[in-house]
Symmetry: D2
Subunit: 118 residues, 4 copies
């Protein structure tokens, strides 16, 4: 029977929090802050690099970046668990909305924000 | 045969970007900014709520929050693809590190940051 | 003759950057990332505190928070210099807009976002 | 007699909050979230621009960016008021620390983070 990586991670992260009696700290408000804090750490890796350099990280930096991304995924999964949000289903719904907002023929090669097309 | 939700999302997001010739904008630097921008939008939903309220969103607000979380997942997957990072593997490595940093008996019920324990 | 603290800071920060030949890194894009990175560090101080605790920091933590806030001000002033934005004038314009958006009699004791009033 | 722009703004922002009975929402925790949320909006203006483009905003975009920066300054001043932090004094202390951490002769033309020099 198929198991999904996000479901597995969710179960293990929930157990990790429960073993430490940390669920009391994991309000959605607090988790949204932790998530944003990790995004801030991710930004710091890239802020003085140009775009080209950001795509050519050395092994050590890439390792550090991968762990920041892990933190983001971890808090995102914790938040989804607390709010009973299905992350994958939500991503597919958002992609369907994006498909309508950004029709291929209209936006090809142009990354302006949707509100600028109106 | 089992397919994993993150792999499926990754393939569809890559196709979405390519159809629009948007890969040129998706440098890791730019994607880290987009990711952090979405986290900022998530924060805005929770900033004036107390912790209790943040756990009791009405259906409409919960829907909006789920779509912000979808955006975060989408940009995180795009960034992982560009940097060739395995998100799930990185999350398990980070969890192993956290298990060492925060031994259950030491941190139970205490959410202080690791650097405060030293 | 009156000197203003923001003007003084701006002059000293510009000299600091020039002495180190760092203006080349201070594009508005990069500075916006550095600013957001510092906000992420600020969040980390508060993420596991409740609101009450966040108002009662001990001296050491308050010192650390003050230095994060200093970083935010520093990058904000650098960004204003690069974009030739008058921060104080912009703040007064924004306050005038907020006064219209949030009339006292309508929003007293209610922090919902403006778009929810419509 | 000299008046300082930050003091003036602080007094007006405090009055604005009090007239609306909004001080109850302005815990340091909440204000740190609002500040980070505004930084997220700032990032969104720059995320798909290259560095050069970010320095050459058209008048309309520059106006929008100036108002995001105003929001950041506004929440930073509110936070400083709630925590009784002297922003200008903190910025000078941080600059003195940076002068030691980044000696001119060592870092000229190099924006790597301080921890990478060690």
């Amino acid at each position: 029977m198929a198991r999904d990586s996000l479901d597995d991670l969710n179960a293990k992260l929930l157990a990790f929090a429960r073993e430490r009696d940390w669920e009391q700290f994991h309000s959605p408000k607090n988790l949204s802050m932790a998530l944003a804090g990790e995004c801030g750490e991710l930004l710091e890796h890239f802020q003085w690099l140009n775009e080209q350099q950001s795509a050519e990280l050395d092994a050590d930096r890439k390792q550090q970046v991968a762990l920041e991304m892990a933190d983001i995924l971890i808090y995102l999964i914790r938040l989804a668990e607390r709010l009973d949000v299905d992350l994958v289903d939500s991503a597919y719904r958002k992609m369907a909305m994006n498909r309508e907002r950004y029709p291929t023929e209209r936006v090809r090669g142009d990354a302006r924000r949707a509100d600028e097309y109106d």
